[in-house]
Amino acid sequence: MNQNEDPRLVLLLAVADDELIMGHRHSEWTGWAPHIEEDLAFSSIAQDEMAHARLLYGLARESGLTDRDEDAMALGRPPEEYRNAWLCERPNGDWGFTVARQYLYDTADAVRVADLTESSWRELAEIMKLIQLEEKYHADHAVAWFERLAGGPSLTARERFAEGLTAAIGEAIALFEPVPGEDRLVSDGVLPRSNADMLGEWLGHVGQELEAVSLDYVLARHGPVGEMVPTGSGEIPLEASDFQVPGVVRRDGGWIHDGGFAGAGGRRGRHSEDFLPLWEEMTALYRAHPGARW
């Protein structure tokens, strides 16, 4: 990792790469979703997320934080330069996991986006206001499935949704892994609140919603977040081999996080075993024909 890296670039990449990789996974439902409305929904959400990533990559270039154009940012970087959280790179699995992840991701994204509309970095705040208008529809989609699966008549559906939540919750917490240089971003007002503060707000909100449908047990029992594998050529440094996320406890009538992060996850360019295959497929055409235009 480059010690001289501008923390503003890391922040942009954390958000943009989440959107890009989440969009890529969503796009895998195109043609395969359980029914045509969901085929269109996930295809549309994918299209939105990738467009949001493009706006942020564009801002990185306009601000002189990178020389790469939007395509090169999305498709022309080596795997270890992607800063997305692991949650986004996990395969779609079954429908229960897909909608559980979309719910956790979009509720977390809503907290982050709302904060960044208040950023002291004016251009970033403007883009975030635009993104917020479009993300509303993603959140509605997630809530609709939450209600349908968690509160619906089918116990099998509820069980599979709960399994999806259990599998995703630990890595959803890692969406709030601090970004390198975060202290400076917060003191400059670029990031209005620390990731720890945003995590607190998100957990409180999600905890309340899960409690209302008696699924809050998934919060307390989240396990380890996954196996570390090297990306690109690098070896795994010792301290990064055991990425850990905070636990979750119920205290004073609400759910809060307990403890901190240890090791390095997506925000430091470390990924799960699922990232490399995704990266290879996503960038295959671009690597075969560098600079290709669509």
Binding site: E37, E134, Y137
Partner: protein
């Protein structure tokens, strides 16, 4: 140096030309009806047009930009034509004009309602009787099928009164 009155005339001509450029995904609507044109400026040597996409990921944008360039070139008096895509201020559905609303309805798409209030589209709303008005019969006894439709900017519905499926333009307001 271009005279002020000539600049005004040219800009007026360009706006009139843009009113004849139609959205490829909603043919009855022009790009001015949809509020996609943010700015027109005529200088000594160029005509500049800024377009504001309805949704950031709108795939029709390249076609709209090409159509815009071709149309404006005809009324540019030999000036260079520069069409840019900009993202600020964020486009909202309030920018759709009254003519746009009529054109949308003529195409079987319910125009977005007046602004204000959150966009509520949970599936739970299927049970509510007050739905989006049907563009064909006007009934509000309609249900939301999906918040996502054939394009990013449209939702899909079904009218229980006249039994037609229909689409609505997504409300998008702060």
């Amino acid at each position: 140096m271009i005279r002020a009155d000539e600049r005004e005339r040219l800009e007026h001509d360009v706006w009139a030309t843009l009113a004849g450029v139609h959205d490829p995904e909603i043919p009855p609507c022009s790009i001015t009806d949809l509020g996609i044109v943010e700015r027109v400026v005529v200088t000594d040597d160029a005509v500049e047009v800024d377009l504001l996409p309805t949704f950031a990921g709108c795939p029709a944008l390249d076609v709209i930009r090409e159509d815009t360039e071709a149309a404006v070139r005809a009324s540019a008096d030999g000036r260079e034509v520069r069409v840019r895509v900009v993202f600020g201020p964020p486009w909202t559905s309030d920018r759709i004009t009254a003519e746009g609303h009529v054109a949308l309805r003529s195409y079987g798409i319910t125009p977005p309602g007046a602004s204000g209030g959150p966009v509520v589209i949970p599936l739970a709303s299927l049970a509510r009787s007050e739905g989006t008005p049907c563009p064909f019969c006007g009934s509000r006894t309609t249900v939301l099928e999906s918040a996502f439709g054939p394009t990013l900017c449209r939702t899909t519905h079904f009218c229980r009164a006249c039994r037609n499926p229909f689409e609505a333009f997504k409300p998008k307001t702060a």
